[in-house]
């Protein structure tokens, strides 16, 4: 397995404050990697740095090509879809327009129409509400929409920022099941940021533990989940 996305010595700053202190991370092609840690550890910052939303130092390579310093718009064009914290819904636009926007940079219009139907097949509730203002959807539906919008890109890498946040357990299960199936069928590499460590360890195959901007532990989820000391110290269960 080769590293699809490789991060080396990543540093990021918010004004004077350094948020990431030289962080290494590998994303396996077609794998699911979880990034775990407490509030404020820098998980979201890692995702933002990778997709160019904030400026960062260090090396970020996608398929061996450096993408550090690229703008968000250009990183998206390389097939990196980011489902941001807070879901990034276009609240005044309809559900279907939100999905169309996900495929904005694609030129194959016919395939896009097919992909919208595919998202509807995954999330039938979105189809029922396709002409509704997206802001009127429930939190769970908006999360589905955010995932659906990301899928519309036909991404090669998906960055997911706390997709379980604020959702009922049943909805979480539904969303993660679909993520898993897309990960399998499309060989999308997934980088998942989660506070719900138990959930993430079950879903992912590799995990990194992050604490105040540094990686303190990494390995397969099986190994990390089995180690009681790590669970107690870092994951709180």
């Amino acid at each position: 397995m080769s590293a699809h996305l490789a991060v080396r010595g990543l540093k990021a700053f918010y004004g004077q404050t350094q948020a990431l202190h030289g962080l290494d991370l590998d994303l396996e092609e077609g794998g699911i990697t979880a990034l775990l840690g407490a509030n404020g550890a820098g998980k979201t910052t890692v995702l933002r740095a990778i997709c160019g939303m904030i400026r960062s130092e260090g090396e970020i390579q996608l398929d061996g090509r450096g993408i550090g310093g690229s703008t968000v718009e250009d990183v998206v064009r390389l097939g990196v879809a980011h489902v941001p914290e807070g879901r990034g819904t276009f609240v005044r636009l309809t559900v279907e327009e939100n999905l169309e926007l996900g495929a904005m940079i694609r030129r194959d219009r016919a395939a896009v129409a097919g992909d919208i139907e595919r998202v509807y097949a995954h999330f039938p509730r979105l189809k029922e509400r396709r002409h509704q203002q997206a802001g009127t959807l429930s939190g769970g539906e908006q999360q589905m929409l955010a995932v659906g919008r990301a899928l519309m890109l036909r991404p090669r890498v998906m960055l997911l920022d706390e997709p379980s946040f604020g959702l009922a357990p049943l909805v979480v299960a539904e969303v993660f099941e679909i993520l898993k199936s897309v990960n399998k069928s499309d060989r999308v590499s997934v980088l998942l940021v989660e506070q719900n460590a138990a959930l993430a360890l079950e879903f992912a195959d590799h995990a990194y533990l992050i604490e105040t901007g540094r990686i303190v532990m990494s390995g397969t989820t099986a190994a990390i989940g089995a180690d009681e000391n790590i669970r107690r110290a870092y994951l709180g269960y």
């Binding site: 718009e73 998206v76 941001p84 819904t89 609240v91 940079i105 009127t136």
Partner: protein, 292 residues
């Protein structure tokens, strides 16, 4: 009754002017979320460009088209040169630049073409259409052109991917970037469109109020009133609002003795205040609904 009909039609005619400018105001408000104080002066400047082209001997419609294209490019250039560098600056900085643009455009126009009043030709025949004498051909043509622009904008925003990208970029720039939309260029495009619409408004208005650097001062106020009445987020609301302001202004000026000619301008302000108090999103503006 005859007087009422007369004033109603006259109201629609002047309403067409306001609707034109209200449309330009809404366009730029949509893409930058601020009200552009210099909108009227941009339109005035475009009209001078058209006047210059006509003075050089171009026929009307080629000069019209060239002015629209030049204005579009000028609008894009203004965004790229003036507003892109201060994109993250506070609102006040934007307002200061708007005011600077206002006085620069006003003075440069006065310096280049002098402050004397010039007449500007209408592309429409001077004889009344359909043998009626209630509404002039130019007024009708102006209303028609406003409606054509409205339809074109509607098609652009509702039925093209570019329009969808522009709406997304205006509503939620961060998310728009995350789906790959080049937000900066969408804003520049919004400026270009607003400048182009403004140029059409200017060329339609100039035959009525005559061309001079301050021609847009009062009209911008009415146009803004129209935009506020209709809702700053709705192009169709802006056009209807513009017509409503024109009609109300004329009828009130005629039938409410206190108002008369002197207090007509006040009506625009009263309308703005009234609408903002009763329905801040305007008659047609969409209130964003969201769950928290």
């Amino acid at each position: 009754m005859d007087l009422f009909l007369h004033q109603l039609l006259a109201g629609i005619a002047t309403g067409g002017i306001y609707a034109c400018l209200a449309l330009a105001v809404v366009m730029i408000y949509q893409s930058i979320d601020h009200f552009n104080f210099a909108q009227g002066e941009m339109a005035m400047f475009s009209t001078y460009i058209a006047w210059q082209l006509l003075a050089w001997g171009f026929p009307y419609w080629p000069a019209f088209a060239a002015t629209v294209v030049i204005s579009f490019a000028g609008g894009v250039a203004i965004e790229r040169l003036l507003f892109k560098p201060i994109r993250n600056a506070p609102v006040l900085s934007h307002i200061v630049v708007f005011i600077a643009m206002f006085s620069i455009l006003n003075s440069v126009a006065g310096f280049t073409w002098e402050y004397t009043i010039k007449s500007f030709p209408s592309p429409f025949p001077s004889t009344p259409l359909f043998g009626n004498r209630l509404i002039g051909a130019h007024d009708l043509g102006m209303v028609g052109i406003t409606l054509v622009m409205l339809v074109l904008l509607y098609v652009l925003f509702r039925h093209t991917r570019l329009g969808l990208a522009m709406r997304a970029a205006a509503a939620n720039p961060d998310s728009a970037r995350l789906v790959g939309i080049r937000v900066g260029w969408m804003v520049a495009l919004g400026w270009g469109l607003a400048a182009a619409i403004g140029s059409v408004a200017g060329m339609m208005i100039a035959p009525i109020v005559f061309l001079e650097p301050n021609m847009m001062l009062g009209i911008l106020l009415y146009g803004l009133a129209g935009a506020v009445v209709g809702g700053l987020t709705s192009p169709i609301g802006a056009v209807l609002g513009g017509f409503a302001v024109g009609i109300i202004e004329n009828l009130a000026g005629t039938f409410i003795p206190v108002v008369g000619k002197e207090l007509k301008l006040t009506i625009a302000l009263v309308l703005i205040v009234a609408v903002l108090m009763v329905k801040p999103s305007g008659l047609f503006g969409r209130t964003a609904v969201s769950r928290v």
